[in-house]
Chain length 229, copies 2
DNA sequence: CCAAAAGTGTTGACCGTACACCCATGA
DNA sequence: TCATGGGTGTACGGTCAACACTTTTGG
């Protein structure tokens, strides 16, 4: 309403990244140990200020790249957090973004240099500010997202077995899934192509490897679909 | 990551409100004619800067109050818009909020003094900045929201007829709804109490008035539910 | 008495869910 | 040969979608 821009009302805008990964142990987020005060030694999400020359989406991509070395990753804005005292140091509005990465592409050497480590989503440590809430919101969004998008694409390696895919969904929803029904449903979408290879790393018999059919995948997300468990 | 707060990266944070209302013509949003340059005379959402002493939620409530005189309204954060040049005047990150109001509570005299008017959601004028996108996102969220919450509560007057409720859903989803199936489904939730009154304003026979059962309503949103059309 | 909106049930198709046993293989 | 995880089919019940006629009453 006010036709001028009052200099004194400028404030800091930050982005914080909730980075999800999935490995043999389950679904995890990447957290960083703060190396400076306040809250030195506490765990936090990786974040950074939005510069005046970059969009908030670009800032989120930059932060993700700086801490993981990864480009071209599925990212999504989750929510803007703007309580007055969320950061006791200064007034900061922070916009949370989630990223889904294939944990095999992530260079775990970074963890030492950055003071980072992966935490299972149901065993999180104490976190600074409102970062716990950010993760909670990101998880809920992830659960919603699964209903409109075969999200496994992002979190799994190119080739994967059905038991792994089932495990992923079990982790996301934190509940047991009937494998027969799951197979029936996911295969009926004609989204997966079975390869002539087996992964024998988890059983003697071995499980067939599958790969997403990217054409079908793109068609599906275009015209929308629904995948409920 | 950076343990200091660089003064020069402070930017403006604004909120913009998508105010939804529902009347005999259908689902509408409240728009304002800009009275100052740039884009004088163009239509826009009502917005305002977030002050350093208020949370972003508070800012959204304040802006809504300033332009509508309404308190205690259902509001929800939609999305943060942060392209570098979205506002050509200055770098502004704007957080869109939607509000659902009962249009009967809104004082239409305000429209003259504020240069505001209601627009049907499928007949919107040209809008400044990214406000069109904001409305689009808010509409999509509204459609999602309907699945978890009997949203009619917010947009309808206390007493309403079933044909009105059906019309509301038809407007939100922009498609025809089978009235028999709709009645069956909504009544089976035991969420509505039929009154011994009829509204004869739209037909000779008259339609029964209903009212939400707030207790049932609260129980339902607590433990979650699903209402798909 | 007629126009216009309100109200009312049934059926078939499909989908989700529950559930238990055989298979392949390395050790 | 046995232990371990991988893979498979069916039957039932519930939910959703399609569909047309009767009721009321003011003008």
């Amino acid at each position: 309403m006010v036709p001028f821009y009052p200099e004194e009302s400028k404030i800091y805008v930050a982005v914080d990244c909730i980075i999800f990964g999935f490995d043999n142990d389950g679904l995890k987020v990447l957290l960083y140990k703060r190396s400076f005060e306040p809250f030195k030694g506490k765990w936090s999400l990786m974040g950074g200020f939005v510069a005046t020359y970059e969009s908030i989406d670009d800032a989120a991509r930059r932060v993700l790249y700086e801490c993981s070395g990864l480009h071209d990753v599925f990212m999504e804005q989750i929510y803007a957090f703007g309580d007055v005292n969320r950061d006791p140091e200064s007034r900061v509005v922070s916009i949370a973004y989630s990223a889904l990465i294939n944990i095999e592409n992530y260079n775990n050497d970074l963890n030492k240099s950055m003071g980072a480590s992966w935490w299972r989503i149901n065993e999180l440590p104490e976190l600074i500010f409102d970062h716990r809430q950010m993760i909670e919101k990101a998880l809920n969004r992830l659960r919603e997202r699964c209903k409109n998008r075969p999200i496994g694409f992002e979190l799994l390696p190119e080739k994967f077995t059905l038991p792994r895919l089932i495990k992923l969904y079990e982790e996301i929803y934190q509940k047991k899934i009937d494998k027969r029904n799951f197979r029936k449903k996911i295969l009926s979408m004609n989204l997966l192509k079975r390869l002539d290879e087996k992964d024998k790393s988890t059983s003697k018999r071995g499980a067939f490897l599958y790969r997403f059919d990217k054409k079908k995948y793109n068609k599906l997300i275009e015209k929308g679909f629904h995948f409920e468990l």
